[in-house]
């Protein structure tokens, strides 16, 4: 057993932590959130330069990491600083899909992703699919050398910034069947694809994507026809590790801010952290934080295990992170009082990041059910 980070990962963590601490304060981030694109191109480029994106890909794919622990290290730091830039969407989901399932031309785009010059988005969820990954109603019909897409995609994060949107669509099979789902690389501005963009509550932007007779060459398909679900599951598993680690990093910030505040805020003539009722609640948060840290290790360490084992760990981790995350976010606000309700205070954003991870790729209950199902098997 060894729970230490490798030297490379330790360096990456230090570099990233230092950069974000210096560059990504509350004011800077709030300005980014209010901007039209919801992200900073400058910070994106600098983080790419520091190797943040490269760390999410294997050497074979042109990066220098790509393992569960690489993803966890990067996203824990992004979470700690409350970063809103779409690393999950462009790199883990979009870039990862191309790297694992793309043909040579599609894989070539991964180099641009790693260099920070290309944005991607994954358009998979639909208005009534909720968290169900196999429920794809969008259709793809191939005839005469082209494929035509029709359907609606919901809450597609980073769609507006994306140079290409990766759209999943059904080529065969029933509505909720895993087999029959394909993925297509759709360049921004393709005729028939319209975006209705909006800001998200916890930062970043998303869009409703309408696909009306979007005609693509057959070469736009990523991998074989109807066979995208496997790679999609792999990338969503990686995304779940990333989301868990991001929430963990954000929880570390929330508890640090709360501990500091309890030590400095005075009421009734003494620091409020001297009241035992509050001390015990703080202690509970710190206990749960360690549970969260271990859960992230469990998920990251099993990312490359066989799918049933991997998914059981990931479901368990997301469930625990969901429960602990809500506790940490709510208690941190409560222990602060009014100050934590204000937009200009760091914790407000951090709490939103923690809680809103529960709305991507399954919430606390969804992962509980999945854990039960996978345990019964």
């Amino acid at each position: 057993m060894n729970f230490n980070l490798t030297e490379e990962r330790q360096m990456l963590q230090d570099t990233l932590r230092r950069y974000l601490r210096d560059k990504y304060d509350t004011k800077t981030r709030n300005a980014i959130i209010d901007s039209d694109t919801g992200m900073s191109a400058e910070i994106w480029a600098e983080l790419a330069e520091l190797g943040v994106i490269g760390a999410l890909f294997t050497e074979e794919q042109g990066g220098f990491g790509g393992a569960g622990f690489d993803i966890a290290v990067v996203f824990e730091e992004l979470g700690r600083a409350g970063v809103v830039e779409p690393f999950l969407d462009t790199a883990v989901l979009g870039g990862g899909l191309l790297a694992e399932a793309g043909d040579a031309a599609q894989r070539a785009l991964v180099d641009d992703v790693i260099a920070g010059g290309l944005h991607l988005a994954l358009a998979h969820g639909e208005p009534s699919s909720r968290y169900d990954l196999t429920r794809v109603a969008t259709t793809a019909v191939e005839s005469g050398g082209e494929v035509v897409l029709n359907g609606r995609k919901a809450v597609v994060v980073n769609a507006e910034n994306a140079d290409h949107v990766i759209v999943t669509a059904r080529e065969s099979g029933a509505l909720d069947e895993a087999a029959g789902i394909s993925a297509f690389l759709v360049p921004a501005g393709t005729r028939g694809m319209t975006l209705r963009g909006y800001a998200n509550l916890a930062g970043g932007r998303a869009a409703e994507v309408a696909l009306d007779n979007v005609a693509l060459p057959v070469s736009a398909r990523i991998g074989a026809a109807g066979a995208a679900f496997g790679v999609l599951s792999d990338r969503i598993a990686a995304a779940n590790v990333a989301l868990s680690a991001e929430a963990l990093g954000a929880m570390e910030t929330a508890t640090r801010l709360t501990r500091d505040y309890l030590g400095t805020r005075k009421q009734f003539g003494r620091p409020i952290g001297t009241f035992q009722a509050l001390q015990h609640r703080m202690a509970d948060l710190l206990i749960e934080l360690e549970q969260a840290r271990s859960a992230v290790i469990n998920a990251a360490g099993h990312l490359h295990a066989d799918a049933p084992l991997r998914d059981r760990h990931i479901a368990g981790t997301r469930n625990l992170i969901g429960r602990v995350g809500r506790l940490v976010a709510e208690e941190s606000i409560q222990l602060h009082g009014g100050i934590a309700m204000t937009q200009e205070y760091e914790l407000a954003h951090i709490a939103k990041r923690i809680v809103m991870t529960d709305h991507r790729f399954g919430d606390t209950d969804w992962h509980l059910e999945r854990f039960i199902d996978l345990s019964a098997a």
Binding site: A154, N200, R326, I333, Q343, E344, H359
Partner: protein, 398 residues
């Protein structure tokens, strides 16, 4: 023991229901149902509708123009109003300041201010909390120094709800620094158009502008704006806080919120079935509903005792703690029910000219979940309430 309402109470409920059906504008209830807030003008319009009926000030004695309802009637009204998605009544002038004026104010103050509260000429806000005086309110520092026929006020108030709409503020100010904290506080009425008063917005974590900082720099306030006696303000403030805590349980809000959760969960698809049929989600909803049914009866027990003349005591602290836990749990369920569509930022979803992003029940859920974290913080945090409960129940208390 009889759990039914009397025939009189039942017919009162019918009357309230009929009034709401007839007079509550659809445009208003739609906004409230979707989790939105009314602007100043619409809010004043609703007050005017109630005032015309004589129902704007349910707790005031008739001689001041109130409805003089008892606690059960007020409870019935609150329940029906919430069920009909009526806007809330902005409480600062009507149910916070007015009872203090009626009990401790001069005849001249009652004659001048009360009618203006009713007709909407004065929009009041509350100047209590300060940056350094939150839970420890008695440590407040805003200073009022008497100079001839006026006070000169300097200091800063914070968390002033809807202060941006207000033209008057009632303040707790320090008039004596030599005595025990609680004995040097006075209750002062300040016209916000007076030179030296400045309102600065505070933006909350859900992006809303609901609270403010109010700064006072050499603000001259006539001595006749003092309520009651100098240095007795703490007594008046405590009296006011007991009034702030009527309807503290928020039963009506919780009932309306729970119905909304069920409505959403019936519409949401979960693996091919309505989310409401999912055992995990259904169990969460059932759990909070069971808690709410019991709390509603606790509330009625206290309301009945109050209607019979009992003063609210430690029970209101209990209702505040349990009531806010339940409301916040319902907000959490609403957010969960919305699924991925909880992510879009509400102002994009509900305030724009566009249709909401996703289903109409989804847009406001996450902002409301975050915004209502305030419920367990303001009006005496839940920690302060627990302190009161243990002090009173475990000895050494009042």
């Amino acid at each position: 023991m009889d759990l039914s309402y009397s025939p009189e109470e039942q017919s009162f409920r019918d009357e309230v229901r009929a009034f709401l059906a007839e007079k509550l504008p659809r445009e208003m209830s739609d906004v409230i149902r979707a989790g939105g807030e009314l602007g100043k003008a619409r809010q004043e319009e609703w007050h005017a509708i109630l005032n015309e009926k004589g129902w704007l000030a349910p707790n005031w004695p008739r001689k001041f123009g109130g409805a003089e309802w008892n606690a059960v009637q007020r409870h019935i009204f609150e329940e029906e109003a919430a069920a009909a998605h009526a806007p809330r009544i902005v409480p600062f002038g009507l149910s916070m300041l007015a009872p203090v004026l009626q009990k401790f104010g001069s005849q001249a103050q009652c004659d001048y201010y009360l009618p203006r509260i009713l007709n909407g000429e004065h929009w009041w806000c509350q100047g209590y909390s300060e940056p350094g005086a939150g839970s420890d309110l008695a440590s407040l520092k805003t200073r009022a120094v008497r100079e001839g026929d006026h006070y000169v006020v300097n200091g800063q108030k914070t968390w002033t709800t809807l202060g941006q709409h207000a033209n008057w503020i009632f303040c707790l100010v320090r008039t004596d620094t030599e005595v025990k904290q609680q004995e040097g506080i006075s209750f002062l009425l300040i016209d916000m158009d007076t030179p030296g008063v400045e309102v600065r917005p505070i933006i909350l974590l859900d992006g809303t502008h609901e609270v403010n900082e109010v700064w006072f720099t050499d603000v001259k306030v006539p001595v006749e704006n003092l309520v009651g006696e100098e240095n007795k303000g703490w007594t008046y403030a405590k009296y006011l806080l007991t009034h702030e805590r009527t309807n503290i349980a928020g039963v009506g809000f919780s009932q309306a919120g729970l119905s909304a959760v069920k409505r959403a969960a019936r519409a949401e698809n979960h693996n091919g079935k309505p989310l409401m049929q999912n055992p995990h989600f259904a169990a969460r909803v059932a759990q909070v509903e069971i808690d709410l049914m019991a709390m509603s009866t606790t509330n009625l027990r206290i309301v009945s005792a109050a209607a019979a003349g009992a003063a609210p005591g430690v029970e209101s602290s209990m209702l505040k703690v349990k009531g806010t836990i339940i409301r916040q749990e319902i907000n959490d369920l609403a957010r969960r029910a919305a699924g991925p569509y909880a992510m879009p930022f509400a102002s994009e979803g509900i305030e724009g000219d566009n249709d909401p992003v996703g289903p109409d029940y989804a847009a406001a859920t996450a902002p409301q979940y975050f915004n209502n974290r305030k419920l367990s913080i303001f009006g005496g945090s839940n920690e302060i309430q627990r302190g009161i409960i243990s002090k009173v129940m475990m000895g050494g208390g009042r």
